[in-house]
């Protein structure tokens, strides 16, 4: 394939509840350190949640933080850190040729809840409703804030794809590069969802909100005692370029996006569909021209709901059950469910496997659910000494959206 038809990752900017850069994050994943806190939520009280502690003033003024949104702030942090990591010469770039594609599960809930609460303090007099409400809640807000902060004049928008949004953002970025719409794509996903009680309350009403006396043990995919999702915030934005451009400037290439698929279950609002998930993975493999046993890591979406984990394991089993060299892991046990950022962050945590040859485990599995048994599920202890050449990253979301993204070790 020609170099201008190949899309590569040349920078990673991220913040997760257990790390504000890839090194810190990776170290915590390999040392099996979860970092889930407790939030005192409006109307709900203390609830386990993944909270990021990046320095928001590193790239923004106080005024920007007051006017903007948390999702915007997470996006700006990730975009700036990703650009620094990429080594792009920002000053010499054509700002019209940079695109920003940010995946989000939802946007606007946080700000709307805050405004309703605000006017409740004034007897629901709507004269007290903020004029900042609309720019904060338009769906393009997180991506738009990045362009404002960085002076980017290319396209920007968010990709609403429920919890498949992180993958969807990256896929969108890759597609725009292939179309020649932009020369650099800042792409991935973000989440500010922990600031919305409604997200937590919705999961609780659905019987899908995790509870545990120890927050760090609350998120436990595949474990018999799992009882739901830990909602988290976070973000990961990647610098994507065509290989031809990356080579020209001698960029450090982290990996190559070699295949993807997004499909729809068309079967239920919330229940997953193993058959469609498997189809999604298979189609991504086909695009990448790989067989299932070419994949070294399947980074699962599993959120620690009873049904979701079982269905996904069924899908993984059907595609990778006979592949002896494919290992399976999960990241949500460390950081909870980072919603729109989940796919992008979970991929980020696995990318260093290309160089360190270690597969981080999923933790908090004290008693594996027999229905989640998979031949090479990496549990509680890292698997070392594995040559990792290809990663398949799965992310699924409500309304039956499935995504699979394949990243390969870069080679000519």
């Amino acid at each position: 394939m020609e170099d201008d038809r190949r899309i590569v990752i040349t920078g990673v900017g991220m913040t997760a509840p257990n790390g504000n850069d890839l090194d810190e994050y990776r170290t915590n994943l390999l040392e099996c350190r979860a970092r889930i806190g407790k939030l005192d939520l409006r109307y709900m009280g203390e609830t386990p949640a993944g909270i990021c502690d990046f320095d928001s003033l590193r790239h923004q003024k106080k005024r920007e933080l007051r006017v903007g949104t948390r999702a915007g702030s997470v996006s700006i942090y990730c975009a700036r850190e990703g650009l620094a990591d990429s080594g792009l010469d920002w000053e010499s770039m054509d700002s019209n040729r940079i695109g920003v594609y940010v995946g989000t599960t939802e946007h606007g809930n946080v700000e709307t809840e805050n405004e309703v609460y605000n006017i409740s303090q004034f007897d629901y007099d709507t004269r007290f409703w903020s004029h900042h409400h609309n720019p904060r809640t338009v769906a393009n807000n997180p991506a738009g804030e990045v362009t404002l902060n960085l002076g980017i004049h290319g396209p920007h928008y968010t990709i609403g794809a429920a919890c498949a949004a992180g993958n969807a953002g990256m896929i969108q970025g890759a597609q725009m590069l292939l179309l020649g719409e932009v020369d650099v794509a800042l792409a991935g996903g973000v989440s500010e969802s922990i600031r919305s009680f409604g997200i937590f309350a919705g999961f609780r009403s659905q019987g899908a909100l995790a509870t545990h006396i120890d927050p760090n043990q609350a998120s436990r995919p595949f474990d018999m005692e799992r009882n739901g999702i830990v909602v988290s915030e976070g973000g990961a934005l990647y610098v994507l370029e065509r290989l031809s451009d990356a080579k020209k400037r001698g960029a450090n290439i982290v990996g190559e996006i070699s295949g993807w698929c997004i499909n729809s279950d068309a079967s239920d609002y919330v229940l997953p569909n193993a058959e469609r998930q498997a189809e999604c993975m298979e189609r991504a493999l086909k695009m990448a021209k790989l067989n299932s046993d070419d994949i070294d890591i399947v980074s699962t979406h599993a959120t620690a709901t009873k049904q979701g984990d079982i269905q996904e394991c069924k899908a993984v089993r059907s595609v990778f059950g006979k592949s002896e060299k494919t290992y399976v892991n999960n990241t949500k046990s460390y950081i909870g469910h980072c919603m729109g950022a989940a796919g992008a962050l979970e991929l980020a945590g696995n990318l260093p496997s290309f160089s360190d040859g270690i597969i981080h485990p999923t933790i908090n599995v004290d008693s594996l659910d027999p229905e989640c048994e998979l031949p090479n599920l990496v549990i509680n202890t890292p698997k070392e000494g594995v040559k990792v050449d290809a990663i398949l990253n799965s992310s699924f979301g409500m309304l039956g959206i499935n995504s699979a993204l394949i990243i390969r070790r870069f080679s000519e």
């Binding site: 003024k61 106080k62 005024r63 006017v67 004269r127 007290f128 903020s130 004029h131 900042h132």
Partner: protein, 84 residues
């Protein structure tokens, strides 16, 4: 309430809505936008905070009267005093 006291209230509001700005040396006669990094949304914030914190209404046609600290004092002092 004196004009100076009202101007102090306006400065406190500006300090809240533009936390990166140095408000210690605002020149009363000079337009606020010419000496501070404020945009039209910030002026709406000033209007909102006057409403929220002090129950003072500034109709849209009077927004130009908030241009400088001096004009804020002239315009708002009677409003504060009417309110009692």
């Amino acid at each position: 309430m004196t004009k100076e006291e009202v101007q102090k209230i306006v400065i406190d509001i500006i300090e809240e809505i533009a936390p990166d700005e140095d408000v210690s040396d605002i020149k009363p006669e000079v337009r606020l936008r010419d000496q501070l990094d404020l945009d039209s949304m910030d002026f709406l914030d000033i209007v909102m905070e006057l409403r929220k914190q002090h129950g003072i209404e500034v109709p849209e046609e009077d927004y130009p009267k908030l241009a400088s600290l001096e004009s804020c004092g002239e315009y708002l002092t009677p409003k504060f005093n009417e309110k009692g």
